[in-house]
């Protein structure tokens, strides 16, 4: 029944189980949500441009803050990283596809519906206004009676489920489906950071799932998990959220580190310096990520011993991160660096991420954090790490692998202009925020008095935001332009080091005509030179007739199951008759599950 689905057109995209198409869909949806996040940021910065501005009201501003944070983290950085995981993991480890192709499609569709559910709050006119972490009492039924917070709670729940399913998929793919000869310490470094990210996802998402279930019970059924009047503790939500929250920020940054390591190695024409040390420090960051969450809660009165331990743990994480930064610089050292756009983004990642990491170390010590907590210094810190770090690296990744995905280079001049617009705009926006933080401007305030000495810095920050927005627009122009008339790119267009450059660009649906065999790290690069060191034509994948390769059949059941999950999640919005919508959603889910398991794979 599944065999006669068309191979091209909309239906093929809806029913695809090919990891490359799903990767493209993830990337396109993530960039679509980037527009949302960007516009929210511009609106907020315009409101804060001058003292006591009335561009937006207080609660709308809180809504924008919440949606900007949640959209950028859950609907832009994580899915764009997932796009890289999806597209590159099988290609880099020499696998025909991911371990569970249909489950891969399922996680995309659940993510899409979760993102739409979260942003539906704009249409419903009830924005979630509790901040991206939605602290307990304010987001409880008593102080946020409208459904706004429900959009956040259920949207993040659904998107979390999507990431969990994808994480299991990639974890099994990486450990079980590597090509012949590729032992764990011969895998590309990007695959290592992907693996550790999946471990973090697998272990931290259940915590937020339980916390969100508890909050939706509080809001819909009147239980009192976080309500002091019923004996609940307000900081229980903070603990559960940050037990997920801190591994979450490593989930955001580790893929970016992997991408930067790949780009630096390629454009310095040198292997990554200290590969095994980079692997161990990635694992160390992943493991320590679970023991430091309370540095977000130093001011909630944890007591001296807890503060001492958590600050020690937080400082300890700076060591493996420092090791990685020095390794990147040593990768550059002695190389033949060519500053293409991806390389510009990668090098700027090192600089910006270092500044972000160092401002983070500053408030890892509780006494300083008493002054920095919930002030603009923290806003500056995490934007330097998240924007200067993860987003810059992800844009570098797009420029780097775009030729492999579409067979055409992205335009270099537009890329470089966009890069410098980003660098100038980014620093103009977020460096003054350090001063705002020291001058005591609290976070999430929709306006401020004119006499606080904050006017100049807020004005500069807003100007920087406009410049960055300009850069963003230029990126989308470049993206669309290059899709159709970018310079043609061959298989090994950047003289790369990993297996995905052995494939044609864009690669055939069956990936590897001949299953690759790897003898050492950066095997593809080593084969480009014979014993005496002069260049030899690398062995690329031959062209074969696609019919000979068995491909998993496309299937629409993942979409049905995902739609069932969406209906289940939409129940709480319709108070009385909502239960029937959820039950109907359960029915659709059962239908999808049974249809899925009895389908010819």
């Amino acid at each position: 029944m599944a065999k006669n689905l068309p191979q091209t057109g909309i239906i093929s995209w809806i029913t695809t189980v090919d990891h490359k198409r799903i990767g493209i869909m993830y990337a396109v949806t993530a960039l679509f949500f980037l527009l949302f996040g960007g516009i929210e940021a511009i609106l907020m910065r315009t409101q804060l441009m001058v003292p006591n501005n009335d561009f937006v009201t207080g609660s709308t501003f809180n809504g924008l803050v919440t949606l900007h944070g949640t959209t950028m983290i859950f609907l832009f950085v994580m899915p764009l990283s997932a796009a890289f995981f999806n597209y590159l993991t099988p290609l880099m480890i020499g696998a025909p596809d991911v371990a569970y192709p249909r489950m891969n499609a399922l996680s995309y569709w659940i993510f899409l519906f979760g993102g739409l559910l979260l942003n539906f709050s704009f249409v419903a006119g009830m924005l979630p206004d509790g901040g991206w972490f939605n602290y307990a009492n304010l987001s409880g039924p008593k102080y946020s009676p409208t459904h706004g917070i429900d959009f956040w709670v259920l949207g993040v729940q659904v998107v979390g489920l999507a990431s969990l399913i994808a994480a299991i998929n990639f974890f099994v793919t990486i450990l079980n489906m590597r090509c012949k000869g590729m032992t764990l310490l011969k895998m590309p470094i990007f695959i290592w950071t992907t693996l550790v990210t999946q471990v973090l996802l697998i272990l931290s998402l259940p915590v937020i799932t339980v916390a969100l279930v508890m909050m939706s019970f509080d809001r819909s059924f009147g239980t009192g998990f976080f309500d002091p009047e019923m004996g609940g503790q307000v900081i229980m939500w903070q603990h559960l959220f940050w037990i997920f929250g801190h591994p979450e920020v490593y989930i955001l940054i580790l893929p970016a580190m992997g991408i930067v390591s790949e780009i630096l190695a390629t454009f310095s024409r040198k292997p990554l310096f200290g590969y095994s040390v980079m692997v161990y420090s990635t694992c160390a960051i992943g493991f320590l990520g679970f023991a430091v969450w309370a540095h977000h809660m130093f001011t909630t009165g944890l007591g001296p011993w807890a503060q001492a331990l958590f600050s020690a743990g937080t400082m300890l994480i700076a060591v493996p991160t420092g090791v990685k930064i020095f390794n990147w610089i040593s990768t550059l050292w002695g190389g033949q660096i060519s500053f293409t756009t991806p390389m510009l983004f990668a090098v700027s990642f090192i600089a910006m991420f270092t500044m972000g990491g160092l401002s983070g170390v500053m408030h890892s010590s509780p006494p300083i954090d008493y002054q920095h907590q919930d002030s603009y210094f923290v806003v500056a810190h995490f934007h330097y790490v998240l924007y200067g770090g993860a987003v810059m690296a992800l844009f570098g990744g797009i420029f780097y692998w775009f030729p492999k995905v579409t067979g055409r280079f992205m335009d270099e001049t537009m890329g470089k202009i966009q890069f410098w617009l980003y660098m100038v705009g980014f620093n103009l926006t977020f460096f003054p925020m350090h001063f705002l933080g020291i001058q005591g401007m609290p976070r999430r305030i929709y306006t401020y008095a004119g006499d606080q000495g904050w006017n100049l810095w807020n004005l500069m920050a807003t100007m920087g935001a406009y410049i960055t927005a300009l850069g963003g627009v230029l990126f989308f122009v470049n993206l669309i332009y290059s899709c159709f008339n970018g310079k043609r790119a061959g298989a090994d267009c950047w003289d790369g080091r990993t297996l995905e450059w052995t494939l044609a660009s864009p690669p055939p649906e069956y990936n590897f005509a001949v299953d690759p065999e790897v003898t050492q790290l950066d095997d593809f690069w080593v084969r480009k030179f014979d014993a005496t060191g002069n260049r030899v034509e690398p062995a690329l994948q031959p062209e074969i007739d696609p019919a000979t390769k068995h491909l998993p059949n496309p299937s629409f059941w993942p979409l049905v199951l995902a739609f069932g999950i969406l209906l289940l999640a939409c129940g709480p919005f319709f108070d009385a008759k909502g239960i029937w919508l959820s039950v109907f959603g359960l029915g659709v889910m059962l239908l999808g599950t049974y249809g899925w398991s009895y389908e010819e794979a």
């Binding site: 006591n52 310095s268 040198k270 001492a308 020690a312 954090d369 001058q439 306006t447």
Partner: protein, 387 residues
């Protein structure tokens, strides 16, 4: 009447003169109204270059302790920043291949895979540097006392949705939005909240601590107030504080002032505060009757509304509104939102939502102009407490 100075967004332009800023500010500036809420002239004068909320003024022992750790950390961080940026810039400049060379022809550089000693060096040195931060941090962490020292003035701070309530159990005083403190005395704060999480923060005095709702979730904060020499202006030196934890739509308008008095001045303040309001003129008389409507939520020390408050507390439902005993002598209205003058008072009573969106106070639009004048005469003049 005050002359409302044009909002301050023009000053930076003159100072910096950036063409780009001029262009985009002129495009957007028309949309933004000129300053209308706080920018009363006198408040402007107070905003010298040193902003009222800066965190490194360090007036108390605790704040100076924080700045000490902050100084060391900044030094270490700058050191590490140089250790990273210098080799990075050198690498970029030194090993850059000129644009357009055909890389495929170029012989690849020496394929260096790693160097164990180097890895050891830049793993151990950061640990040592971090110890420079960690040791003073741990010292500072264990300095804060858990319980109130005997000689400390205990102040109960209760966060409400968008205003602050301060109680002095020793003197039986309850006041709001202005925290009066004697100089050079250890003060121990007991922080709780009546609704959502707030965060009590006086940057110049030291860090912030969350006010968590719930009986068993009481936080504490302790510092010794600065010496009398810090008090420059008569009637006490003003230090600003603000709520730092998102607590709803008017979280930005939840500010308060700490007023520092000399010991004698503070002593007089404690006696004077609970005196009943002196009704001198007929207008204030009329205002007193009108206050009966307000007594449902507000209390004035020394008036029948106080007994009403006691009975309501016995029932377990405390009054919703702040205590207004010394409203006349306060500098700001609505938790640091508006300057305390008659025009603002009347505008507040008529429609509180316009000033503080989401405020739970009902609007008294039905009162006539003359009744409002009477009410403001009573609440503004008769509650003034001369120290």
């Amino acid at each position: 009447m005050e002359i409302l100075k044009k909002s301050t967004w023009r000053d930076p332009l003159q100072r910096l003169g950036l063409g780009w800023m001029a262009f985009s500010t002129s495009v957007f500036a028309e949309g933004s109204k000129q300053a209308k809420a706080f920018d009363e002239v006198e408040y402007q004068l107070r905003a010298t270059l040193e902003s009222p909320m800066n965190t490194i003024a360090g007036l108390t022992e605790w704040a100076r302790g924080i700045n000490h750790v902050y100084g060391i950390t900044t030094l270490v961080v700058t050191l590490v920043f140089l250790a990273v940026s210098i080799p990075l810039i050198m690498a970029i400049v030194k090993f850059r291949v000129p644009e357009g060379t055909d890389l495929k022809q170029l012989k690849p550089p020496k394929q260096v895979h790693g160097n164990v000693q180097l890895e050891f060096v830049w793993a151990v040195i950061p640990v040592i540097l971090l110890l420079f931060i960690a040791v003073p941090t741990w010292e500072a962490i264990f300095e804060q006392p858990e319980e109130a020292p005997e000689d400390a003035l205990v102040v109960k701070v209760i966060g409400h949705q968008w205003w602050w309530e301060f109680q002095y159990p020793k003197y039986g005083i309850t006041t709001a939005n202005e925290l009066h403190l004697p100089a050079e005395t250890p003060v121990f704060f007991e922080l709780t909240s009546a609704d959502v999480i707030h965060s009590f923060w006086i940057p110049k005095m030291g860090g912030k601590k969350d006010c968590l709702p719930g009986k068993d979730a009481m936080n504490s904060m302790f510092f010794v107030t600065p010496a009398a020499s810090e008090i420059k202006t008569l009637g006490g030196e003003y230090f600003q504080g603000q709520c730092a934890e998102l607590c709803g739509s008017s979280h930005a308008l939840m500010r308060f002032d700490t007023v520092l008095h000399t010991r004698e001045e503070f002593g007089r303040w404690t006696q004077v505060h609970n005196q009943p309001p002196q009704v001198t003129s007929a207008l204030q008389e009329k205002g007193q009757e009108l206050f009966a409507q307000c007594a449902v939520c507000h209390t004035l020390a020394g008036t029948p509304s106080e007994e009403q408050e006691k009975s309501m507390l016995a029932l377990g439902t405390p009054k919703q509104g702040p205590n207004l005993s010394n409203l006349g002598s306060r500098k700001m209205l609505g938790a640091g939102t508006r300057w305390n003058n008659q025009r603002n008072f009347i505008e507040w009573v008529k429609n509180p939502q316009s000033i503080k969106p989401g405020a739970t106070m009902t609007a008294f639009g039905h009162l006539s102009e003359e009744e409002l004048l009477a009410l403001s005469a009573y609440l503004m003049q008769s509650t003034v407490k001369k120290i």
